[in-house]
């Protein structure tokens, strides 16, 4: 009896082991070695003698599909190179890349997070791509070129700038309720008409109404029962930099040699953002809603919000339930916005740098990543798209985009004339810096400290991070 049971058990174990082994053998056959040499994907033929390179990226399902489509197109044209797309989860991208770097198993080329590029470059992990473009060739815009000690180490795959986005339906509703002229309260689409900060605050206050229908300028306004808020400024630390720049300061000085976030210009600007909700009650108390348009404008209880241009393709175009518009940011002293974009890099460990660069250069041509540009997620990186009206029209006359004239002046011209690089294009360790700044600012959002107190408390740490990395 007992022996029979044991026999059955043993038989079960043996069978399961066989199943396992066959399953795992299957894995082994398919994957001779993943990572540096690449695997056979459905697109490749087994007798393929092309050089295989891996390209890692972190897009969501639409971006991954678009990226795979681009790679397929490239592979179909190429008889020397075969690109395999590696998808890594965005939230764990750096963790995986660092682990691979430590083990010396990096892919050949990848799109990286902006903040990691210079750290990798300073540690000699990035291939020098300065010979990617010839002297007289059309290069990507200078403001989206990552520079390590002045030499380019990466170009952003796309250009993105910060703007003010607004819910036209809600704006109309609020103006009608109060009998206001909507034109005076529509965010200006031209940089020359940009609101000063005080104007912006006044407009936002007028558009903020409590449950009794009083706006935030009314002495009887009830800040604890607000129905509609006038504005919501994105409080992601990297986006806060734009306000410091606008006030004549910044996180770092222009050549990235000094951390100047404790200077009055930066501190004043940061305080002004906090005051929107603490003092003027025209923005909701700071919460996670303030980190994306889908959670701020998406509530349909906020009239205006700031965020990046990618939202046209990822949220506003496909998902938003309201008509939306775009305007330029308000300003303190300088009319400025910041630009950014995920950078494509070639890793120094690659055995095929030439092929990797060929692929990236091909990928940088707008017509090859057209899907993402057409739906509004990416803005082109080559200057001609901003200056040549034919190309601009081709770009922005698409169904996902808002009214072309407005987008042209508020985004295209604004990006070309008023955008400066985000700090991570020339300062290393900004991810760590921003994480510490996030902590410091959490004291300010709740009103427990003024921006001055919080920055003073954290300046040593912020400056130490800056000095350690640069």
């Amino acid at each position: 009896m007992i022996k029979r049971k044991i026999a059955i058990l043993l038989a079960a174990i043996v069978m399961l082991s066989l199943i396992t082994l066959s399953a795992c053998d299957g894995t082994n056959k398919d994957v001779p070695s993943t990572g540096t040499t690449g695997t056979e994907s459905s697109g490749g033929t087994s007798a393929d003698e092309r050089i295989r390179i891996t390209y890692a990226q972190w897009g969501n399902e639409t971006e991954t599909a678009a990226c795979q489509a681009v790679a397929d197109k490239f592979n179909a044209q190429q008889d020397k190179i075969y690109v395999e797309v590696l998808k890594i989860d965005y939230d764990n991208y750096i963790a995986k890349l660092n682990t691979m770097a430590t083990a010396g198993e990096l892919p050949d080329t990848a799109i990286m997070s902006e903040a990691g590029v210079l750290t990798f470059a300073k540690n000699g992990l990035l291939y020098d791509i300065s010979e990617m473009y010839e002297e007289n060739e059309a290069k990507p815009l200078d403001c989206i070129t990552f520079k390590n000690n002045g030499t380019p180490v990466a170009y952003s795959a796309a250009n993105e700038v910060l703007n003010i986005w607004y819910n036209i339906d809600l704006l109309k509703e609020v103006c009608e309720k109060q009998g206001l002229d909507i034109n005076q309260f529509t965010p200006p689409a031209k940089a020359e008409d940009a609101w000063s900060w005080d104007e912006f605050v006044r407009v936002a206050q007028t558009l903020t109404i409590d449950v009794n229908g009083r706006n935030a300028l009314d002495p009887n306004f009830d800040p604890n029962n607000v129905d509609i808020y006038g504005c919501c400024v994105n409080i992601l630390p990297w986006q806060l930099e734009v306000w410091c720049l606008s006030n004549g300061g910044g996180f770092f000085n222009k050549d990235g040699t000094e951390c100047i976030i404790n200077q009055p210009e930066a501190v004043e600007a940061l305080q002004a953002i906090a005051d929107l909700s603490l003092k003027y009650h025209c923005a909701p108390p700071v919460s996670t809603a303030a980190t994306a348009l889908s959670t701020s404008l998406g509530t349909e209880k906020i009239v205006m919000a700031t965020d990046g241009a990618w939202n046209v393709g990822t949220y506003l175009g496909p998902d938003a339930n309201f008509e939306y518009g775009v305007g330029v940011l308000p300003y303190f002293k300088e009319k400025v916005t910041i630009c950014t974009g995920g950078p494509n890099v070639v890793f120094a460990t690659t055995k095929h740098p030439e092929e990797a660069m060929t692929w990236l250069k091909w990928y940088y041509q707008e017509e090859n990543s057209w899907d993402l540009i057409e739906n509004g997620t990416w803005m082109p990186i080559l200057e001609s798209w901003y200056t040549n009206s034919e190309l601009t029209d081709k770009w922005i006359n698409n169904k996902n985009y808002p009214e072309a004239g407005m987008y042209k002046s508020a985004v295209v011209d604004y990006a070309f004339n008023n955008a400066v690089s985000t700090a991570w294009y020339y300062v290393s360790g900004t991810d760590v810096f921003n994480a510490a700044l996030d902590t410091a600012m959490s004291y300010v959002w709740t009103g427990d400290m003024t921006a001055r107190e919080a920055i003073n408390k954290y300046y040593d740490e912020l400056n130490r991070i800056f000095l350690e990395n640069n």
Binding site: D91, I94, A95, N98, T99, A101, T102, T119, F120, N123, G124, L125, N224, P284, P285, V286, S287, T288, A289, T295, T299, K301, D431, V432, A435, D438, T439, S442, Y443, W445, T446, D448, Y458, E461, R464
Partner: protein
């Protein structure tokens, strides 16, 4: 009530006479019974011992060694002795915050999930209608992938537009800063851990089922009411299971990292800067692997101390014959 004394007696009789009795049985010159027993034990333990040393101790030791180096994972490591530890205790502004966050969170989550899961398990062990349905409901949160759990809770907790504050407003209460206030963030996150404690419920259920019916019946004949039966029979019999759940809940909650990764990023004001999240941050986003290893070493000691305390106190309340582990 004499039931309390009665039960240990029964167990004592069952447990004590283990070794002696067997030895008196047969005589074997080389392979004595106790030697055979030991060999069986070693054979049983081989896979685990090999595996655990390979995948646990060697990496752990390497982490300890790494803690003496300055290393960013890219360039070659540089030996700096105990400088990492010195930095941690002197200039690191996160150290005390992370210690506090880890301990407070673990305390709240462990107490909360233990009480909740034992209570629910007892309820589910009673004769109520549609038991399989209720059991599944309480277990499902444990099965959910973290990404779904934390995203949903973040929406529910959201200060201005979340469901909980919407309900508060409808009831005429002021909105609560569940995640935005440093005072509330840990209880809010601990509540998620309690909600996810389906595994503890299942283990308690399994334990309740293993309480031998004999003693229950004997006690009932002696006139014990259900509360007394619960307190003097079920609880002592469950004590190994309670200890197990307590140990598991303690260690898992001390090592908490996902809520910080998924929701708070350690904020606000460092209130949820859990130590293992800080280790993650140093190792994977700050490129300070050596420094992270030093944190890990301190963390290892910290968790070790709590585990040792738990094991040491278990002598006084754990109810079974233990001739091995100690």
């Amino acid at each position: 009530m004499d039931i309390r004394k009665q039960v240990p007696d029964i167990k004592g009789v069952l447990g004590m006479n283990n070794g002696g009795q067997i030895k008196s049985g047969r005589h074997k010159p080389f392979l004595t019974n106790s030697r055979k027993e030991a060999i069986t034990a070693y054979l049983c333990l081989i896979p685990a011992f090999l595996g655990l040393s390979m995948i646990s101790y060697i990496p752990t030791l390497s982490a300890f060694v790494l803690s003496l180096f300055k290393w960013n994972g890219m360039t070659s490591p540089e030996f700096i002795g105990f400088d990492n530890y010195k930095e941690m205790f002197t200039i690191d502004i996160y150290f005390t915050d992370s210690l506090k966050a880890t301990l407070v969170y673990a305390f709240l989550a462990v107490i909360g999930s233990m009480i909740y899961s034992l209570f629910i398990a007892i309820l589910l062990n009673m004769n109520i209608p549609a038991r399989p349905l209720w059991r599944s409901i309480f277990f499902v949160p444990y099965m959910l992938p973290a990404i779904g759990v934390y995203t949903t809770w973040r929406w529910l907790y959201e200060l201005n537009y979340g469901l909980f504050n919407h309900i508060n407003r409808m009831l005429g209460l002021p909105p609560v800063k569940y995640l935005e206030s440093p005072k509330n963030v840990l209880p809010s996150l601990a509540l998620i851990a309690v909600w996810c404690a389906g595994n503890l419920i299942v283990i308690f259920l399994a334990g309740l089922q293993n309480v031998p019916g004999v003693y229950q019946e004997a006690a009932e004949i002696d006139g014990a009411n259900s509360w007394q039966r619960f307190w003097y029979i079920t609880i002592p019999y469950m004590s190994p299971i309670i200890f197990y759940n307590l140990l598991m809940a303690l260690i898992i909650n001390l090592q908490v990292v996902t809520p910080a990764l998924a929701i708070t990023n350690g904020g606000p004001q460092n209130a949820s800067m859990f130590m293992s999240y800080l280790i993650y941050r140093y190792a994977f986003t700050k490129y300070k692997i050596g420094y992270a290893a030093a944190y890990a070493a301190i963390f290892f000691v910290l968790v070790g101390i709590f585990t040792a305390i738990l094991f040491a106190t278990s002598k006084y309340w754990l109810f079974y014959e233990e001739e091995g582990g100690k």
